[in-house]
Amino acid sequence: MSFLQNYAYYTGAFGLILIGLFIMMTKRNYIKIIIGLSILETGVNLFLIAVGYISGGTAPIFSRSGITAEKMVDPVPQALVLTAIVIGVAVLGMALALAIRLHKHFGTLNLLEIREQRW
Amino acid sequence: MNAKDVPHQGSFRSSLYLFIILMIIWLVLTNSLKTEELLSGLIISLLLTHFLSANYRELGLPRLRLKRAANFIAYVFVLLSEIIKANFDVAYRVLHPKMPIRPGIIIIKTSLKQDIAKVILANSITLTPGTFTLDIKDDALLIHWINVKSEEEGEAAKRISERFEKYLKVVFE
């Protein structure tokens, strides 16, 4: 229980990650898989942000005087998440474009019905 | 009521409006009067005004008059108080165990002419909880009302739109 209390952020983030992975592994509708991917990416980004948390920390911006470096949260995960979000957007965009094509070609988005290629 | 029907007049006035609005927003955002901030704001506002003033020309913004400005400020306060009142009203209806609601869609007519005035009216109605503007067709507003008190057009208009309309009429006409 103490784990949950201390690590509420991690619990939330990994909850999203596991939900996303579960959707991606079990659902067979391509749009649902894309939704799962989106949830997964959100979870990963939240996890990265939580890694940089510092108790009672502020945003790492010297916007006013009186903000000291010690009180700032870790800026690195925020920078990483910025990059990860952009990459996630790129992957999602590709996935959606492929969904449009998939539907035009096969008339369905159910991957079980799409069996052009076999082992 | 296409925007193109409005005669293209006052292009200088609309450009000036756009420029002033942009400059004010820039000042609020930057929150500083340093030279480089002012200069960059000036340049960006001028550029945007140059390329996009056509957008504003079709809005039909009126000439600036003291009476209009005063009415507009009054209108903002009326809107705020209406929003607060409507909030309490909706909260009461939601929390009441019997849920005294009577949802329905009604049509009300407006006498406002300019597109921008109609849109401000529609948005004010949407902002007050309980009423929601779905669409505008010519001079008719399609409104979803959480508690339809009257299906008669004039009565509904009195309850919903008139309190805003009288100010907007002065502002825009």
Binding site: I61, R101 | I25
Partner: protein, 229 residues
């Protein structure tokens, strides 16, 4: 069956992650690298926003990759959708007056806000990507409200896209040639701290990125919208 296997796999993942996390400090003081950034980021890059100094200063190379990824997504989307045969444009509902008028009123203001966000990336939370996204949202509003009017000018958007990326690279290469021979080296003066004209090359790069991201995201929406019509 499939669900059972995936639940078992996910439980293994969860178990491993819990094991790893329980040894990980949470909410404690920053370690060496992050501490260096918050302590010396001001002097090293001149940016008041330490995240920006990490994004474009210490880890600028990542951002080059990031810009490339977005460019790539734009091109990849066009490739995936390019060979589709154009079908007859389905009749789209004419947008309502509210949307149309709202667009006319808000479009310049959205562009202004986007410009503000990417110009002040080194001073406030924001930057090229965020500002670009704000600008692209303005274009989305345009697509929704004015159908069949001429869309984004492809010539201009291509130009913004390429030139924005090239400015980033060229600034990097200038840094390689001038002075200390490092790629992406800051060759401009840092200026007075916490003013618009500070932090050397960071605002320049962010403005280039802002234009690039704005035109790229708009183009992505444009391509997707063209298909759905």
């Amino acid at each position: 069956m499939k669900k059972g296997v995936s639940i078992i796999l996910l439980l293994i993942l969860l178990w491993g992650v819990v094991a790893a996390l329980s040894e990980m400090p949470f909410g404690k003081a920053k370690l060496e690298v992050a501490g260096h950034y918050t302590d010396y980021g001001k002097e090293d890059t001149g940016a008041a926003n330490i995240v920006t100094s990490v994004v474009l200063g210490y880890r600028g190379f990542d951002t080059l990759g990031e810009v490339t990824v977005l460019f790539l997504a734009c091109i990849g989307l066009a490739v995936v959708l390019s060979t589709l045969k154009k079908q007859g444009c389905g009749a789209r509902q004419t947008p309502s007056l509210i949307l149309n008028t709202g667009f006319r009123f808000l479009f310049p203001l959205i562009l202004l806000f986007g410009t503000y966000v990417f110009m002040h990336g080194h001073l406030s939370p924001g930057g090229g990507f965020q500002g670009g996204a704000v600008i692209a949202s303005g274009f989305v509003l345009m697509y929704l409200s004015v159908p069949k009017i001429k869309r984004l000018n492809h010539f201009v958007s291509t130009l913004f896209e390429s030139v924005g990326g090239l400015i980033f690279l060229v600034i990097g290469l200038i840094g390689l040639k001038l002075g200390s021979q490092y790629f992406l080296n800051n060759f401009l003066p840092n200026g007075e701290f916490n003013t618009l004209l500070s932090a050397g090359i960071i605002p320049v790069i962010y403005i280039a990125i802002g234009f690039k991201v704005g035109s790229e995201l708009s183009k992505i929406i444009d391509v997707l919208l063209e298909e759905s019509e």
